[in-house]
């Protein structure tokens, strides 16, 4: 597979994951907003921006303007519209590598969000809009799995998705842990309860958590579930497992000494497999998640150096 193609598939997948993630977060936030006093609401928005590494976390909060920044702004490269447009642009560059069904779905999603006017997505119809983005992304994922060969290209799509997911999850939870009291292993109520439920919902994890731990919200168990659960697709551990699996297959397919990415990913995976939530919390959950993010960044750089942009001189010499 061409390096450029692998690069495009990887980034296409990252951008789409980011769009879906942002849509989910803003959707949850807008619903939570209705339950809160204006002051708490402003704090939440600020936290949301921080969790997304979006600009504008300082200064007074104007929900409509923020929404615009996060959703429609083309100057913000991480806004939902920008992400979908970039994902599509990446796929357009490698159209022959994906199935036509995949292209059709992403193109349709793109046309849909491009046609949506900011005022339409605000308030009344907002839920519908964010649902459409999430479902559009999920449908794309389903179509990808159903229509594309699960070969090397597909593996780069997996890699992009889970590298992005690990990073965004760690970032979101890091912001959450920084502003809340250290999680305790007992049920919490009212305001605090809402915050933890919002975190679970932001990770699509509320129902899955309830199945595992009942509806009693214990912050420590929530943290454990979101960081260490090996079965839930939006947990850090699950995502890192997927990164590892994809890297192994790619390594076999390309017969390359893919030492550095697999090594870093393997180390991170081992850490997550053998950590206990009590230790993590004792040492500081925020710091732990920051470390996950930096490892994730290292995996990204290593993939880039080994597969996408290697020096030609060494290749010709070997």
């Amino acid at each position: 597979m061409l390096s450029r193609v692998a690069d495009s598939l990887y980034w296409m997948s990252r951008y789409l994951e980011r769009a879906e993630h942002t849509a989910r977060l803003v959707d949850v936030e807008l619903q939570l907003w209705l339950d809160q006093s204006p002051d708490t609401g402003a704090g939440r928005w600020r936290f949301l921006l921080e969790g997304l590494h979006a600009p504008g976390a300082q200064g007074p909060v104007d929900a409509a303007r923020l929404m615009n920044t996060l959703v429609f702004s083309r100057s913000n490269a991480s806004s939902i519209v920008s992400c979908i447009a970039t994902a599509r642009e990446n796929l357009r560059h490698v159209r022959e590598q994906c199935s036509s069904e995949m292209w059709e779905q992403l193109n349709r999603l793109y046309l849909e969000v491009m046609e949506t006017k900011p005022e339409e997505a605000w308030m009344l119809k907002s839920h519908g809009f964010f649902r459409a983005v999430q479902e559009g992304a999920h449908l794309f994922q389903g179509i990808t799995d159903a229509t594309m060969s699960h070969g090397e290209g597909w593996q780069y799509i997996q890699l992009g998705r889970y590298v992005e997911r690990t990073d965004t999850l760690a970032s979101l939870m890091g912001a959450h842990f920084r502003r809340t009291a250290p999680p305790v292993d007992q049920a919490v109520e009212s305001a605090e309860y809402l915050e933890w439920v919002a975190l679970l919902r932001s990770c699509m994890a509320f129902e899955a958590y309830c199945k595992a731990q009942t509806a009693e919200i214990r912050p420590l168990r929530v943290a454990e579930f979101l960081i260490l659960n090996p079965e839930f697709p939006h947990s850090v551990r699950f995502s890192v497992d997927r990164i590892n699996a994809a890297l192994h297959v790619i390594g076999d397919l390309t017969e390359r000494r893919a030492k550095s990415p697999t090594r870093i990913a393997g180390r991170l995976r081992a850490q997550l497999s053998f950590s206990q939530i009590e230790e993590i919390v004792a040492e500081g959950a925020h710091a732990y998640l920051e470390n996950v993010r930096s490892e994730c960044g290292a995996i990204h750089s290593a993939i880039h150096e080994i597969y996408f942009d290697y020096p030609i001189e060494t290749e010709l010499a070997s």
């Binding site: 061409l2 450029r4 357009r92 022959e96 390309t254 390359r256």
Partner: protein, 531 residues
């Protein structure tokens, strides 16, 4: 319902009326300006032999159209348009930022060619391309045709697309042009003539395939009943052609690494590049993915560098190699020409083929056919006046308002003057240009391109069309039955190019005996091991 059907019927009859003689012609079908001497009514009508009387092979289609209420027709057209938009079957319009991608307008009414007519086209095109390949080999080697004075030496050497670099270079199987799209027009007497050869990087074949796919969805029953030759095997035939041209010294002669080289996503035919690469199962590569080391071409893959053997290039000569041609290109690959010269890689089409589709050289093609094959050309040329010839030039300058003037090296409908539809100022401009550079221009009579029925605003009206069949030449010659029928969608317009408001429609070549044998004849690919 009955009333609506009657409406649609009337629309068709009106279209038919336009094929009648000038006296019987309703005013609205006249050319708007009296100054124009060209007569549209002289054009051949593809569907009707007489007003309201369809040709035999159009009868079933005519009946189907009559039975469709305008609303239904409009609905089907919208459904087809939506398919094109969603599948991203688009072309890029240069010079516009927003909405850069446009769908290529597709017309729902198929153009039908009976098998007898097709057989003649097939023979004629094979003959023509065979001769042109011999011509290219000759002018880049001994130059027999030049020494014998059949084609003037200065005409060839002064051609912008003549490449000195190709002198004495041998190409696999002596085939310079392996992928060709020739533009045919039907003259008022019903015969086909060649308007233009496209021997460099002809495009449009993906629209031929897309039109077919959409048409099969829109008119499934009619399609089946008609017994139409399939076109779906084009990508496979193209791949077989490319592979048969692998370099002599290729280690994997049986399984050469074949790629498609595209200028990139902003090229107007990018959709086609991706489509063909996908359908052939080969890598779609940009210049930046390739590098040349020791005269060997490699592409950069995730598994390291991989040697490339055959390049189906959709990049013009000028932009292929900055070391050899235009130094400012970023689309090409430095060193590619040397690798080509060393015989380590095949380029299809070869470099320098543009000399044979130069519009002034075109005028000599019948002579070229006779010289190499000792045969008369099966498909005639359109009369062409060379501006480098004194008497032909003065005739042209006196009759500019009747003629079409074309720049010899241009394509895509650019650099053209259509006399009957031009203003005095435009004619003066061209007069000056012709006098300044006579070698650069030719003139042809304004042709009454044949007309076919098209869906316009839910009704059926007639529009001018041409035909571009695609010919492949490798180990053997392959013509996919049909081709791209281009339509000048603007009323009265004679320009069918997509960049100039043209569209296209599906082209049905009928089987003999109207489809006894429904099994597709798909050429086998020799030595293909994997995709």
């Amino acid at each position: 319902m009955g009333q609506q059907a009657a409406c649609a019927g009337r629309a068709i009859c009106m279209a038919a009326e336009s094929s009648m003689t000038a006296t019987a012609l309703p005013q609205r079908f006249r050319v708007p300006s009296t100054r124009v001497s060209y007569e549209f009514e002289a054009a051949y009508d593809e569907m009707f032999k007489a007003p309201g009387v369809p040709r035999e092979h159009y009868e079933a289609l005519h009946k189907t159209l009559l039975g469709l209420p305008p609303e239904e027709l409009r609905k089907r057209q919208q459904a087809a348009d939506l398919t094109f938009l969603h599948e991203g079957i688009t072309f890029t319009v240069y010079g516009s930022k927003e909405g850069m991608e446009k769908i290529f307008p597709n017309d729902l009414v198929p153009r039908i060619i009976p098998s007898g007519e097709w057989t003649k086209i097939e023979k004629g095109l094979t003959q023509r391309l065979t001769a042109l390949n011999l011509f290219l080999r000759d002018i880049y080697h001994e130059g027999r045709i030049l020494s014998e004075g059949i084609v003037p030496r200065e005409l060839v050497y002064s051609c912008r697309h003549f490449r000195r670099e190709m002198r004495g270079l041998n190409v696999p199987r002596d085939i310079y042009v392996s992928i060709c799209g020739t533009d045919l027009v039907r003259l008022p007497d019903g015969s086909f003539a060649v308007l233009e050869d496209n021997l460099r990087v002809p495009s449009g074949v993906s629209y031929m395939l897309a039109n077919r796919k959409v048409l099969k969805r829109v008119f499934p029953t009619m399609f089946r009943d008609y017994g139409v030759w399939p076109v779906d095997h084009y990508p496979q035939a193209l791949l077989a052609t490319l592979r048969s041209l692998a370099p002599e010294n290729c280690n994997y002669r049986q399984d050469p690494t074949t790629i498609l080289l595209t200028p990139g996503v902003s090229n107007s035919a990018y959709f086609e590049h991706t489509f063909l690469a996908q359908q052939m199962g080969i890598e779609l590569v940009e210049g930046r993915d390739l590098l040349v080391h020791d005269n060997i071409v490699y592409m950069r893959t995730t598994a390291g560098l991989r040697r490339v053997d055959v390049i189906y290039r959709r990049v013009d000569d000028d932009f292929l190699d900055p070391l050899c041609f235009r130094p400012d290109t970023i689309l090409g690959v430095p060193g590619l020409f040397n690798a080509y010269r060393a015989g380590n890689v095949t380029l299809a089409n070869a470099i320098g083929t543009g000399v044979a589709d130069d519009k002034a050289v075109y005028a000599y093609v019948p002579e070229i056919v006779k010289f190499y094959l000792s045969e008369e050309a099966i498909l005639p040329n359109v009369p062409t006046y060379l501006m480098s010839n004194d008497s032909q030039r003065s005739y042209t300058l006196e009759n500019l308002e009747k003629l079409v003037v074309k720049a010899v090296g241009e394509s895509g409908g650019y650099g053209m003057l259509i006399g009957p539809q031009s203003t005095a100022q435009q004619r003066e401009e061209f007069r000056a240009r012709i006098l300044a550079e006579p070698r650069n221009y030719i003139a042809q009579p304004t042709l009454a391109l044949s007309r076919a029925p098209c869906v316009i605003d839910g009704g059926v009206e007639s529009r001018h069309i041409d035909l571009r069949p695609y010919i492949l030449m490798g180990e053997k010659v392959t013509l996919v039955p049909g081709g791209l029928t281009r339509v000048a969608l603007r009323k009265g317009s004679l320009v069918v190019n997509s960049s100039q408001g043209g569209g296209s429609k599906d082209t049905w070549v009928l089987r003999e005996g109207n489809g006894e044998d429904r099994v597709a004849k798909i050429p086998a690919i020799g030595g293909r091991r994997e995709g």
